[in-house]
Subunit: 348 residues, 2 copies
């Protein structure tokens, strides 16, 4: 199974996302695998056996979002320099979204850009982070504020690597799949309601469907001038929740699950979504044990926190809302009172 | 006067290089000027008066190639964060090649890429560095090893800023003009033989001609897969000279002048160039008081140093040679003995 990502750019930058197709890969160049301690201890040997390269190296970073910073980026770049990678060399991102984002960023700036391949090892990164070419690191001002758009040469999603994934992380990945179904694909949402993803064949199909949606959106809007923003459904709220809980209470996908429920309350107030549709979304999230509620201490402070996201331009908050199931609405200029009411209801 | 740079990319990335056309510029966004101490003390006030922006900021870096590093890059990025620049904000590179390369690089990675404008203040950066979109910083492994391809939105070359340029730096810029004439444009070379660039009208015309050549080459080969490498005529030798003299003895353009003379000796051995043509090139370089000779201590060591350039792939050295005046030849696999003989002759 595979999905092609076709970009509105010179053809050489298009690439294929393979699902369970990773046999031996041959490279006539130097290859550097970038991974983290967790993935390395579980799967690095398995991967190394599948890669034939002129010279094969690995660099193992500490595991966690808190290491998605300039220091880790420099560890990757230094490994490139030490092993004298040249312009034809290749990086392989072997891990979750953090490894993918940092490896892609390093590839984009090493000798003004070299190729990289993604082998995402979490469900979240398979269905979301590995497609789209967003790379970056965090700093004290916020998340992903330094980075680039740099597309991988290929992506390999292997279900074998998901077998060691903790259940919570699996569900966090499902949250992003549900997110894409709600805003873009009613048939996929209904399919999700009737197919359990613990069945491996179903999971594979769902991964392919999610990637196909994401690929379509990215192809339409690679650098997020418009429709790509819809992928942020639930995220405006999730970012505040993650920030208030210092990124320690919820996994990203869990915060997105809560964020979608909050966005849906707002969407109901604006009559984009009805109560039955909102309930179906909550039910599906809860089926995967995803959290759907967060206690807001102070709704005013929560509202103000929307504006602290440094990427917000000119202090207008864009809310991405579901319009029925399978549709979306990008709403600017929603009156503050309406948003506050929705936040109060979410708290009820 | 202006030159359009048309790239084989989506049209939005094409841009115009204006020569002596800088009136007041209006921006409906935040603008950050990046400059160095030298240029700031001479010209920053003049420039600030010409820029109207929503908010206008400056960051002033120390002057010199030795500051073209990660630390200075972070100073630029931190200024972006402190002033809360957003995705619509603009950077202005106001200085020579070092400022241009670092500002372009910062623009390419701040929030995954924002616009920047070049206002080059040296002749070298007006005719060379400001066109082509190469950005980068140096590190202990070499020059420009971390960077990106990122095109400016516009370039403004103003002769007023050249009036404060030291004579040596002026000549270093002329060296790069001669470089382009020799390999790409016989008529321009002959024009240079008969027109003195101390005349301001001639200078302006020569700047426009040089930029037009560079723009043509970059349009053909933005990411240096082929013909763009010809712009490195003289540079293979120059890099070794600069390295051996720790970047303190010669300005880059001066090292390129010597490098061209060395390349010409090799080209004569391979009969690409005749003695008369080689002499005309030396004569023109010397007219601008450019150095044309460097004492090589050890020709074997000089030869080995070609291979230390980390960008060389698979240890094959590509020599860019003049083929007559106005033509070029990219030579791989020149026997070591032939190169050594040329180096000995250069030393004679």
């Amino acid at each position: 199974m595979y999905v092609d990502v076709i970009l509105n750019q010179p053809a050489s930058r298009d690439y294929r996302v393979y699902i369970d197709q990773l046999e031996t890969l041959h490279f006539d160049t130097k290859v550097l695998i970038v991974t983290n301690t967790t993935v390395a201890s579980l799967h690095l040997e398995t991967l190394q056996k599948k890669i034939e390269a002129k010279e094969l190296y690995s660099v193992i970073l500490p595991d966690g979002e808190q290491y998605k910073n300039m220091q880790s980026l420099n560890l990757i770049l230094n490994a490139c320099f030490e092993h004298r990678l040249d312009r034809k060399s290749l990086l392989i991102a072997f891990g979750g979204g953090v490894i993918g984002d940092m490896t892609g960023f390093a590839a984009s700036i090493y000798q003004r850009g070299i190729d990289f391949i993604q082998i995402p090892t979490t469900l979240l990164s398979q269905v979301d982070a590995s497609v789209g070419g967003k790379t970056g690191i965090n700093n004290s001002y916020g998340k992903n504020l330094i980075g680039s758009f740099w597309q991988p040469r290929a992506v390999y999603c292997e279900s074998v690597f998901l077998k060691t994934l903790p259940k919570r992380e699996f569900s966090a990945g499902v949250a992003e799949m549900i997110k894409m179904a709600v805003t873009f694909d009613k048939a996929f949402f209904e399919w999700l309601e009737t197919h359990d993803l613990e069945d491996e064949a179903h999971l594979k199909e769902a991964i392919a469907k999610s990637i196909a949606i994401k690929a379509r959106v990215v192809a339409l809007d690679e650098t997020e001038q418009g429709i790509r923003a819809v992928l942020n459904y639930g995220h405006t709220f999730a970012h505040v929740i993650e920030n208030q809980t210092h990124y320690t209470t919820f996994l990203h996908g869990e915060a997105v699950a809560i964020g979608m429920v909050m966005a849906n309350i707002l969407a109901q107030k604006l009559t984009f979504l009805n109560a039955d549709e909102a309930l179906r979304i909550v039910t599906l999230l809860e089926h995967y044990d995803l959290p759907t509620h967060y206690r807001i201490e102070n709704v005013e402070a929560f509202y103000d926190a929307f504006f602290l996201d440094k990427k917000s331009e000119h202090a207008v908050i864009k809310f991405i809302l579901a319009q029925g199931i399978g549709g979306y609405e990008i709403s600017r200029n929603i009156p503050k009172e309406v948003v506050l009411e929705a936040l109060k209801e979410a708290n009820a």
